[in-house]
């Protein structure tokens, strides 16, 4: 199924000359103009650059050329992806005003495929958070209900797609930062296998966990985006050296005969809402009805995932964020007596509370006397999670779980208690620790009318299978309303003589 105003449908219409890229862009920019003030998905809207790019795409089509598989598709980029000449802030004061000297590889690849960049999206500072409230520039609001969070950390990207500001977006996922906001905003969000997508130009948070991935309105659209950004890159030595099967290669294959495991430990977890549990059960029944063999499977070590993650990720962050010292770029506190004073004052003024907490937590977990008890033990837990997943995949093709424990919560509801906030990531973290792919698919709404996501987990490099199952799930999902602003995009359409195609 391809969505209206989706990645695949837009590029097909632009490539065939039915619709102009500039009209598609302007339709989205009009929705931005009318709704962005309420949603605050963007740190910066790059409308003028986008118009220039869209006009170039139209010129290529007019000249008989092919602009590529993402011709004229409006895309939003999480503001921790480097864009040459356009500020990249990580929603942190410490990088305010910084202009990256180069484009991230994923940005280069999208541009080369004909994508048009609408803007840079808001995030929890340095991708640390689950609500996009930890932004130096203020929170993003959920397009389905502006009193609620969009999830995080890629909340701006999820909200931009849900609101109709862009057809697709990129985010980064270290412990669930693509999948959890996708679930809370009612869009598709995928975290690829570790190493499938280059991270050159993704500003590092936790290097053994970070991956770049797509948001879109449909599974096919997300797979199409992933196929453009994935693949070897000499600029990232953690990127897999070999090309892999296209993520979209098994779409339309159904689930007949596939073995799907419902992760037992992720059904009765602490704080899991009843409506989420009910939707998961409905999803399992639906897949079973479509011909899959659905059974319970135990993956015992995943219950320790959250604890292991909140030792490993801060440890890596404390090292990665040491580079922000006011010497080469970004904020420098003026009038410092000496260099140590400058470090102290620049970092203390530039980082927000959550970033400070994680840097200190990581420094503590790595410090003499505690290393073995915390960081060392967490790395061993990681081994157990990898082993337990491997055992589950001996009997199952893919696994199923909720994406998040509840629907989107009210802004401010969890911001005073970091631990409660961290519990949002309990179902998404294990895939990062194992390096496996996982995708969140919208599956109806909760008792409050807000979107619910179901997560499909797959073994390393099994993206084609993962999207195959996700697409079936999507086709069986209960109806869920589009946001008011995305509905306004639908009504707006392209010019009347060409709009029918979308």
């Amino acid at each position: 199924m391809t969505a209206a105003f989706g990645v695949v449908s837009i590029s097909a219409s632009v490539r065939s000359g039915e619709v102009r890229a500039l009209d598609v862009l302007d339709a989205h920019l009009e929705v931005v103009a009318s709704h962005e003030a309420g949603v605050h998905a963007f740190n910066e809207v790059t409308a003028e650059q986008a118009r220039v790019a869209a006009s170039m795409i139209d010129g290529i089509v007019a000249g008989g050329g092919d602009p590529g598989p993402l011709a004229g598709v409006p895309i939003a980029l999480k503001d921790n992806l480097c864009t040459a000449g356009t500020p990249t802030t990580c929603s942190s004061k410490i990088l305010q005003g910084w202009h990256p000297p180069y484009d991230a590889t994923v940005v280069q690849r999208l541009a080369a495929a004909g994508a048009v960049f609408v803007g840079k999206t808001n995030l929890d500072e340095f991708a640390m958070g689950s609500s996009t409230e930890n932004s130096a520039f203020g929170p993003t609001r959920n397009p389905h209900d502006q009193t609620r969070v969009p999830g995080g950390s890629s909340g701006g990207s999820a909200a931009a797609v849900a609101a109709g500001f862009a057809a697709g977006a990129l985010g980064s996922d270290t412990g669930g930062s693509i999948r959890q906001p996708a679930a809370l905003c009612g869009v598709v969000g995928a975290k690829p296998t570790y190493g499938l997508v280059s991270r050159y130009g993704l500003i590092a948070f936790a290097s053994s966990l970070d991956q770049v991935g797509p948001f879109a309105m449909s599974v096919a659209d997300a797979a199409a985006l992933l196929d453009v950004i994935s693949g070897p890159d000499p600029m990232d030595s953690t990127c897999l050296g070999e090309a892999t099967a296209r993520s979209a290669s098994r779409l339309g294959s159904g689930v007949e005969g596939l073995r799907i495991g419902l992760i037992t430990e992720m059904q009765g977890a602490e704080g899991m809402a009843d409506d989420v549990k009910a939707r998961l059960a409905l999803a399992a029944d639906a897949l079973s009805g479509a011909g899959a063999k659905v059974d319970q499977v135990s993956v015992p070590a995943v219950t320790f995932g959250l604890s292991a993650y909140y030792l490993i990720a801060p440890a890596e962050a404390s090292s990665n964020l040491a580079r922000y010292d006011g010497v080469r770029y970004g904020l420098r506190a003026p009038g410092s007596a000496d260099i140590t004073d400058m470090y102290l004052r620049s970092r203390s003024a530039g980082f927000g509370d959550e970033v400070k907490r994680r840097i200190m937590l990581g420094t503590y977990a790595l410090s003499a006397g505690y290393y073995d008890a915390y960081y060392g033990q967490a790395q061993k837990v990681r081994t157990l999670i990898v082993k337990d997943f491997a055992a589950a995949y001996e009997n199952f093709d893919v696994l199923l779980s909720p994406t998040a424990p509840s629907t989107a919560f009210e802004i401010g509801a969890k911001s005073a208690d970091p631990l409660t906030m961290y519990l949002n990531d309990v179902f998404t973290i294990p895939s990062n620790l194992a390096g496996h792919p996982a995708v969140s698919v919208p599956f109806g709404v909760g008792d409050d009318g807000m979107p619910i996501g179901v997560q499909v987990l797959a073994p390393a490099l099994a993206e084609p299978l993962m999207f195959q199952v996700a697409e079936v799930l999507e086709s069986l999902a209960p109806p869920a309303p589009l946001s008011a602003s995305r509905r306004s995009l639908r009504a707006l359409g392209a010019p009347a003589d060409r709009g029918a195609a979308l």
Partner: protein, 100 residues
């Protein structure tokens, strides 16, 4: 089992991490970090005897390239982002204090 984190511990790691905390921040962060570490402590209940730690989930090998000079970032572009520059270099406040 390690003891609970104290304000002295937090002050110590803040110094190591080059962060300056007010008294209010020190108290608040200590409580918050203690709650997270108390939760994280459940990893200790697992028997990990003989378990090999995982640093990266997927096998990684050294990646080598041919020793050929390729273009790097332009020096002027990079220096243009610096807070202070002198003579094509990053300028910083004095490194040795008066007492040193």
């Amino acid at each position: 089992m390690p003891r609970s984190i104290t304000t002295d511990d937090v002050a110590h790691v803040a110094r190591l991490a080059r962060l300056q905390l007010s008294q209010e921040e020190l108290t608040r962060f200590t409580q918050q970090l203690a709650a997270v570490l108390d939760h994280a402590r459940d990893v200790e209940s697992l028997d990990t005897t003989g378990v090999v730690p995982t640093a990266h989930a997927l096998p990684l090998v050294n990646v080598l390239r041919d020793d050929v000079v390729t273009p790097s970032l332009d020096r002027a572009t990079v220096l243009a982002e610096a807070p202070e520059v002198e003579d094509h270099r990053f300028r910083v406040p004095k490194i040795l204090g008066d007492s040193q």
